[in-house]
């Protein structure tokens, strides 16, 4: 029992974190469009859910705090209060506070309470005379104790007896109570009201048909009428319990509704249908039902349709499910193995040459491929959530530094593997901080340079071929090639006077221990940063590049593979061993004849360009003779082309990446291994590391590999 409760609480914490993230995003959006009513509703709803389920799972402090914040937003929503920066500041801090409350630590309790009180005082000041209202008990008892999110549609026929008013009950109040439970549509029947001269003003002659979409239990709905049970005729039907099935079931046709209400018999309906006129007209013409009854039924039909439509719209979000990440990882592993077995089957079938078997194998191949694609797509998440996080970061940092910066994001919907997104956050934060701190100038400097005082940082993501390109571009001061050269020479990263293009110089900032900013601030400039970024991106098998126009800004481009689990690879053979080069890096394959004495220089003349060439046989100390015609795979590494001399190019190959395990953790040249069709392993080359090492065996001039 206890465990179950803990599990619920854990689920709440997780859900609340998501809600807070959404809330934060909405708040930041609200800053740009203060009048957006939809946004306000969204924020209000978010707060309400945090509060409601918080109270349910015993986070009373959260519920209490959020309640007060919610009441402020209630006023905003009702137009009683404007949105301003102060309110947003407070609200964002309130989000932080709730987040802290989710994970309370003993020692912080007093501090948290103080923050909470301070924030509330702030809210009160902003809201003017917002009374610190006590939590409304009615609300909690009615709508919040039921299962959240599951709503049902109820149909009520409420027919007060004529003498109901005499007993002091007001049917309108009851209907109002009913409406408080959820979304309520009422249709009033006035057919029984006589002409004015015959009217008895003390008796109740009208009655109602109501359709209610609510999250409350049916019993709670019936409870509304508990005191008038004897004074009225009440019929309560639950039409749709929880929108569990498809919404279709409740979109019943008028005739069916009437039949199920007992207003007409099925035979009458069929007879009426036979006469090809509008059903409602026919029924009322034939006098089976009064026009009012038909109108009421029609309004019910419409209401149910609309309401369940709305529920289903909302449950679009609920149609996704939360799955533990490791289960997904297992699935991806299994699919990876399936792909391997499938490759083995294909090879075996080709050896055998049985056409029937080949057909089956091809079918299997197609299935395995689509299974692989859809499995990998499950792990894909839009990068937008990460971007939203940055909005807050930029807002806070600009305030701290006294700069003005707009963050413009683009391509939020770009999808990336979950692992990639998780591990991308920190490097992107580094890049953004760098742009905010070093890139964008202070407003007065910008004005002096003839630029608008507010800087712009563009953060965009887009698919490009098999990779995702993320760029961070600012319109700040840009990089100074001179300063970088000076610094690099001081640090011994490049030989004095080395000939390098501006772009090569810019990319030196990714070397360890490089920082040109004189001032060390709390944000960046501690001499770490860009090298950390590079290392993190390398670990994701991506690349990072910077370009800059002095005075106009800098653009950092990060290229990442879509997934970490499976890549397209080019298989090559050296001696008896097979290796895989990631296909994305391969530019072309050329051949060259081996010189007579086998001592040709390690260079390749490619259409007049000199391309350094690395012989894998030597790099890996593999015995044996090189072939007479030596294939060379030309790859791009860190923007430069390098040739890899091999014995044979086998061909393209779907490569499932397997880790080499802890024993080989320190081997940089291989990023993993894969399984060949015949069941043997082939190592996957980390070409960048391989080239880096070959160019610079003792690691003295790490910059030179870039050449």
């Amino acid at each position: 029992m206890k465990n179950q409760e803990d599990a619920h609480r854990a689920a709440y914490v997780e859900e609340a974190r998501d809600l807070l993230a959404e809330l934060e995003a909405s708040l930041l959006e609200l800053e740009h469009s203060p009048g957006d009513v939809d946004l306000l509703h969204k924020i209000f709803r978010g707060l309400h859910t945090v509060k409601g389920s918080g109270a349910m799972f015993g986070f009373d402090d959260i519920a209490a705090f959020t309640h007060d914040v919610e009441s402020v937003f209630d006023r905003v929503r009702n137009g009683l209060l404007g949105v301003d920066r102060r309110l947003l500041d407070l609200s964002l801090r309130a989000c932080d506070h709730i987040r802290a409350l989710l994970d309370p630590r003993e020692e912080q309790e007093a501090e948290l309470a103080a923050t909470g009180a301070e924030l509330l005082a702030g809210f009160r000041a902003v809201a003017g005379a917002v009374e610190p209202s006590p939590a409304r008990p009615a609300e909690t008892s009615a709508s919040e104790k039921s299962r959240p999110g599951v709503s049902r549609i109820c149909r009520l026929r409420f027919r007060p007896h004529g003498d109901m008013l005499a007993s002091g009950n007001n049917p309108l109040l009851l209907l109002e109570d009913l409406a408080a439970l959820g979304d309520c549509r009422c249709y009033v029947h006035t057919e029984d009201v006589p002409a004015l001269e015959d009217l008895d003003p003390e008796s109740c002659l009208v009655w109602w048909d109501c359709v209610l979409r609510t999250e409350a239990e049916a019993a709670a709905v019936a409870d509304v009428f508990v005191f008038v049970e004897d004074d009225c005729e009440l019929r309560l039907d639950v039409l749709d319990d929880g929108c569990a099935g498809d919404g279709e079931a409740v979109h019943r046709r008028l005739g069916e509704i009437l039949v199920s209400r007992g207003d007409i018999r099925e035979e009458d309906l069929e007879a009426a249908l036979a006469a090809q006129r509008r059903l409602g007209d026919i029924l009322s013409d034939t006098g089976l039902v009064s026009p009012g009854t038909v109108a009421s039924a029609l309004s019910e039909q419409q209401a149910v349709q609309e309401l369940s439509q709305r529920t289903c719209d909302r449950s679009d979000k609920a149609s996704s499910i939360r799955v533990a990440a490791d289960k997904l990882d297992d699935l991806v592993d299994l699919v990876g193995e399936l792909v391997i077995v499938q490759a083995q089957i294909r090879q075996a079938v080709e050896d055998r040459g049985d056409p029937a078997l080949r057909g089956l194998a091809e079918h299997l191949e197609r299935l395995a491929e689509s299974l692989r694609d859809s499995t990998l797509s499950i792990r894909m998440l839009p990068i937008g959530a990460t971007f939203a996080r940055f909005r807050r970061l930029v807002r806070d940092l600009t305030a701290e530094l006294g700069k003005e910066i707009d963050l413009v994001t683009q391509g939020e919907e770009t999808e990336l593997d979950k692992t990639v997104i998780e591990r991308l956050g920190d490097p992107l934060v580094h890049l953004l901080r760098n742009s905010i701190d070093h890139g964008i100038e202070f407003p007065d400097v910008r004005k002096a340079a003839g630029k608008p005082p507010a800087g712009v940082i563009r953060l965009s993501a887009a698919h490009s071929g098999g990779e995702v390109v993320i760029t961070v571009a600012d319109d700040g001061a840009g990089l100074s090639a001179q300063a970088i050269r000076k610094r690099a020479e001081e640090r011994g990263l490049i030989p004095a006077g080395a000939e390098m293009t501006a772009k090569e110089l810019y990319n030196l900032i990714f070397l360890p221990g490089f920082s040109t900013a004189k001032a060390v601030t709390s944000i960046s400039g501690r001499g770490v940063g860009m090298d950390v970024v590079k290392r993190a991106i390398d670990a994701l098998r991506g690349s990072v590049e910077i370009d800059s126009q002095p005075g106009r800004g800098a653009t950092i481009t990060v290229r990442l593979p879509l997934t970490l689990a499976i890549i397209d690879g080019l298989q090559i053979q050296v001696g008896a061993e097979y290796y895989v080069v990631p296909l994305g890096l391969v530019e072309e394959c050329v051949e060259r004849a081996r010189g007579g004495d086998g001592t040709e220089p390690g260079m390749l003349n490619m259409r007049g360009q000199v391309v350094p060439c690395l012989r894998l046989r030597e790099a890996f100390a593999i015995d044996g003779d090189r072939p007479v015609i030596e294939p060379i795979v030309v790859v791009t590494v860190d923007g430069a082309r390098v040739g890899l001399a091999v014995d044979r190019v086998v061909g393209e190959h779907q490569t499932v990446i397997k880790s080499l395990g802890p024993l080989y953790r320190d081997i940089e040249e291989f990023s993993g291994a894969t399984i060949r069709g015949d069941g043997r392993m082939a190592l996957i080359l980390d070409v960048a590391a391989l080239v880096r090492r070959a160019a610079d065996p003792d690691g003295s001039h790490p910059a030179l590999f870039a050449k």
Binding site: G336, L493, G513, S659, G661, P662, D666, A682
Partner: protein
């Protein structure tokens, strides 16, 4: 886990390297494979022969004879790979060990196992947990964790030369 260990407590898998009889605690042995193709990882110590595909996982294989200085294991019909689970830096790791031949599962009471003699053993006494006996022949019971911990990457890193460049740190 504890229970399983109890029932297997006195059982050992015996195997040969050259003419010597060795044994491993059966609890650490996962399975025995025929010799399959081993993919060599360049520029690693010779005694780490490379990796094999164990049902889709890359499992490193160690040549115990090279490790013990008894020369490289030759490929014969009897050559086997014993898959063991060892503890590398606190991490359970699956490794393969080459053996000239695998003999049997042999039961020995702890009373039958004698402490390691201080000298005269064919391999470093650190790797030996104790000495058993089968008929007239001694069985060298290996301390598998020590054998494999000593292959640690210290040796690997040396062969590789430098790690990531660490100069010029601010």
């Amino acid at each position: 886990m504890a229970e399983a260990a109890n029932s297997n407590d006195n059982q050992y898998l015996t195997f040969t390297l050259e003419r010597e009889l060795f044994a491993l605690d059966i609890g650490s042995v996962r399975e025995v494979l025929e010799l399959v193709n081993i993919t060599r990882v360049p520029r690693t110590p010779d005694y780490i022969r490379g990796v094999i595909n164990l049902r889709g996982r890359a499992v490193p294989v160690v040549d115990l004879k090279l490790k013990f200085g008894m020369g490289a294991t030759e490929r014969t019909v009897n050559t086997c790979i014993i898959i063991v689970e060892v503890n590398l830096e606190g991490e359970a790791t699956v490794l393969g060990a080459l053996a000239d031949s695998v003999q049997e599962v042999y039961e020995m009471e702890s009373s039958q196992i004698e402490p390691t003699p201080r000298m005269g053993t064919p391999i470093k006494s650190d790797f030996i947990r104790g000495m058993g006996k089968s008929g007239d022949q001694f069985i060298i019971i290996l301390d598998i964790n020590k054998v494999f911990t000593s292959l640690e990457l210290a040796g690997l890193a040396q062969t590789l030369g430098e790690a990531a460049p660490e100069n010029a740190e601010a």
